[in-house]
């Protein structure tokens, strides 16, 4: 049977068909839907882990324990899991273990565009790259064979366009591999230096065998065409190559580490002009140069950003398209906090009080967009708290002491914020930490997390108690604020600034996209009372706009009325009220 599946859906299907029994992940675009889809298979245990390292550890443990396992994350998630990742190459595995990294060239929803192919070489594990959904499913099954044959984790690299584009997949059946018998294997599993030294030697031996495998694997294939041009490519770049050079000979690498040197050399010798087409880093190109080849690569193809067939075409043939409109001349639609977003009130007050706010990764990063303009920094998951503490130190040491306010989401706090908060308390910081608690992982599409009391399957489970957590680590000042009560937020923050100790504030309000079954009566503006002062525009609410009469208006399709109420609280002229029914 055939189906149109996204790359992520295909990986999920592939895991099921490969007989995977344990699947773990932390949500992160573009990888999130892999685990969401795996969770629909009752044969596979699946969990949202607290972060990518935990996800990696759990899945690796399952592979040590004898069943096939998968862990999925976005590219920067592998940074979080890197500690385990690097050493897991030394320990190897008992049952098949695949690490899925979904990279984000072009940074559609990410803070950088690191190319995790480089990570495979760094960790010394085999790298498998599909170029469409069908390959995502089929190559994953081969990845499990590689993992078990060489007893190594396999890095399975997707990119946004593989993960989120859909293509036709031929569905297969599930196999049920016998769980492997667990035998205590201290020399391979305990990386004390005396063992690790031997394990490194063993890993280098495995890599030699893997290199031989890479020379002959069906994952790498040559499509012979016109031999005046030969192109080496991998992943999604293969598709762009076929669009632009339909006649050329193509060496498509599905496994580019270890690099199949002999295969590449043979291919290069058979073509007149050698080109490498790849996104981001010159990974294949550098490997070609290492064996004395001199392909055209990053000299023509940009290193920055995502590729497409137009960019590849223009890199070789110049501009061929018609220009009818200059899109830069049109009003943009930047992503904004939704109408009724529970984060808006805090950022409004942070802006009014001119606070220094290191923030974090999530929907609430949109608090940086004008007019809220409330955020000072955003680097990576969990960094807000450490950054806030460090900035506080800098201000003190510069003789201009003032408090800083870290703003971090509930899911992100649990992911990487807790250890940072302990650091503040332990080292006698005075930082204010605001947990923007919307009871979900919103940006990636509303996944539950340990603060929600629900599992990925929707079952009830234990729930993190922020108040007790704060108390347990020595924080004496803990407050909760209702996310839609502006005066309460202002008052609490002003009080917190006066305190000479660290403070935790949990700003509670459910994500408006998760609110169900409540009647919404939108607000409207009384034009008689509206003085066009523009105060309500400081909220940056997409439902509020200027009418033709130069008075504020509220779009009833977007406004959530009493569920939010912020504009009514901000208006000094009582001009905003429930629309009469």
């Amino acid at each position: 049977m055939k189906a149109v599946l996204s790359g992520n859906e295909a990986v999920a299907r592939g895991a099921w068909e490969a007989g995977v029994k344990v699947a773990t992940a932390y949500p992160g675009t573009p990888s999130t839907e892999i685990l969401e889809n795996i969770a629909n298979y009752k044969e596979i245990y699946s969990e949202w882990s607290t972060n990518e390292k935990v996800a990696f550890d759990v899945a690796l443990g399952a592979a040590y324990g004898g069943v096939r396992a998968i862990t999925c994350m976005k590219h920067v998630g592998l940074n979080v899991a890197a500690d385990t990742f690097m050493s897991s190459a030394y320990t190897g595995v008992l049952a098949g273990f695949v690490v899925v990294s979904a990279d984000d060239p072009g940074m559609h929803s990410s803070q950088n565009e690191q190319d995790n192919r480089v990570f495979a070489r760094f960790a010394k594990v085999p790298l498998v790259e599909p170029s469409d959904s069908h390959e995502a499913k089929e190559f994953l099954k081969i990845a499990y064979e590689i993992s078990e044959r060489f007893r190594l984790p396999v890095l399975f690299r997707l990119t946004t366009r593989i993960s989120h584009s859909k293509s036709v997949v031929e569905l297969g059946e599930r196999i049920e591999p016998e769980p492997k018998e667990y035998v205590k294997d201290v020399p391979h599993r305990v990386v004390i230096p005396s063992n690790a030294r031997t394990l490194h030697i063993e890993l280098e031996e495995k890599l030699k065998l893997l290199k031989e495998y890479a020379e002959n694997t069906p994952l790498n294939r040559i499509e012979w065409g016109d031999n005046s041009i030969g192109i080496i490519t991998s992943g999604i770049s293969y598709q762009y190559t076929k669009e632009v050079f339909p006649e050329a000979s193509v060496l498509k690498l599905g496994m580019s580490f270890p690099f199949p040197e002999e295969l590449v050399r043979r291919f290069a010798e058979s073509v007149k002009k050698l080109i490498v087409i790849e996104e981001n880093e010159p990974f294949i190109e550098d490997n070609c140069r290492k064996i004395g080849l001199n392909p055209i690569g990053k000299k023509n193809i940009p290193i920055v950003g995502e590729l497409n067939q137009q960019i590849v075409r223009e890199a070789f043939f110049g501009k061929t398209t018609d220009t009818r409109i200059n899109p830069a001349s049109l009003p943009q639609r930047p992503p904004v906090l939704c109408p009724g977003c529970p984060h808006r009130g805090f950022f409004y007050i942070a802006n009014r009080l001119k606070l220094t706010v290191p923030s974090d990764i999530g929907c609430y990063t949109l608090g940086v967009i004008p007019p809220l303009s409330a955020i000072d920094t955003c680097v990576c998951m969990g960094a807000s708290i450490g950054n806030a503490f460090g900035m506080e130190l800098a201000f003190n040491l510069s003789g201009k002491p003032r408090k800083t306010v870290a703003a971090i989401g509930d899911s992100t706090f649990i992911h990487a914020g807790i250890t940072e908060l302990i650091d503040v308390a332990y080292n006698k910081g005075k930082t204010i930490v605001v947990i923007l608690d919307n009871s979900t992982t919103a940006m990636t599409g509303h996944q539950p997390h340990p603060g929600t009391g629900k599992t990925i399957k929707g079952e009830d489970t234990v729930k993190v108690d922020y108040a007790k957590l704060a108390e347990a680590i020595g924080i004496k000042h803990y407050f909760e604020t209702p996310a839609f009560d502006i005066s309460k937020i202002r008052e609490t923050l002003k009080h917190a600034i006066q305190l000479d100790q660290p403070v935790v504030i949990v700003n509670k309000g459910e994500c408006i996209l998760q609110v169900r079954g409540k009647k919404i009566v939108p607000y409207s503006v009384d034009s008689e009372k509206c003085t066009s002062c523009g105060l309500c525009f400081n909220l940056g609410c997409p439902a509020i706009y200027w009418g033709d009469d130069s008075k504020a208006k509220i779009d009833p399709l977007y406004c959530v009325g009493e569920l939010c109420d912020l504009c009514k609280q901000v208006c000094k002229f009582d001009a905003i009220n429930k629309t009469e029914e």
């Binding site: 149109v4 584009s165 598709q239 943009q332 639609r333 706009y545």
Partner: protein, 197 residues
């Protein structure tokens, strides 16, 4: 047959992704190779959304680049204008007349462009503009506007109606099925009338 490329554009929340899925499923069911691409995440928070569907005997890239689209199916006027470069010379524009004001405009910093229909017709004189919201209301719910637009474009594609109807049945919640089928019908009829005229 060459590959047919359809670019579907609009604003987050308009049902663009679902419309693309329906198109892809309908194309698959008549035996075409199909690819579809869009971006999730940040782009969904009130941002512009672009989804591309390509089908034919063999499709390589899932992306539709400038001067490559056979059809621009737009759910919002400003987005129609924004994406005009993506159409081939003889491409077809099918656009809703709905306007959704971006924050950059509502905050008073920029202006929503005027006379979009005329500007589009300068390049594509046979562009079809549809009051999809009105049709959706007539079908029974404002949220069926995307299916009305699907009905309109289906008129021009080498895929029979039954395949679309099957795809709609497989994807939309049962309680909205009747409304969606009606919206599809009305959209289809609107496009047929436009051609005769």
């Amino acid at each position: 047959m060459d590959v047919i490329s359809i670019l579907i554009v609009g604003v987050g929340g308009q049902g663009i992704i679902l419309t693309g899925d329906l198109l892809a499923d309908a194309a698959l069911s008549v035996g075409f190779d199909v690819k579809k691409s869009e971006v999730h995440g940040m782009a969904q928070r009130g941002g512009a959304v672009v989804s591309g569907v390509r089908f034919g005997k063999k499709v390589y890239s899932p992306l539709i680049c400038e001067s490559e689209a056979d059809f621009l199916l737009s759910f919002e006027l400003l987005e129609t204008l924004r994406n005009l470069n993506y159409l081939k010379k003889n491409g077809k524009v099918i656009s809703s007349t709905q306007k959704i004001i971006p924050v950059t405009v509502s905050s008073g910093n920029q202006e929503y462009p005027q006379n979009i229909e005329e500007r589009v017709k300068e390049f594509f004189s046979d562009a079809i503009f549809i009051d999809a919201i009105k049709i959706a209301k007539e079908a029974g719910h404002i949220r069926s506007a995307n299916i009305a637009l699907l009905g309109a474009i289906s008129h021009f594609l080498p895929i029979e109606r039954e395949s679309f109807i099957k795809a709609i049945k497989a994807h939309v919640p049962p309680k909205t099925l009747e409304i969606n089928l009606k919206a599809f019908e009305l959209g289809f009829n609107y496009a047929s009338k436009k051609i005769i005229v």
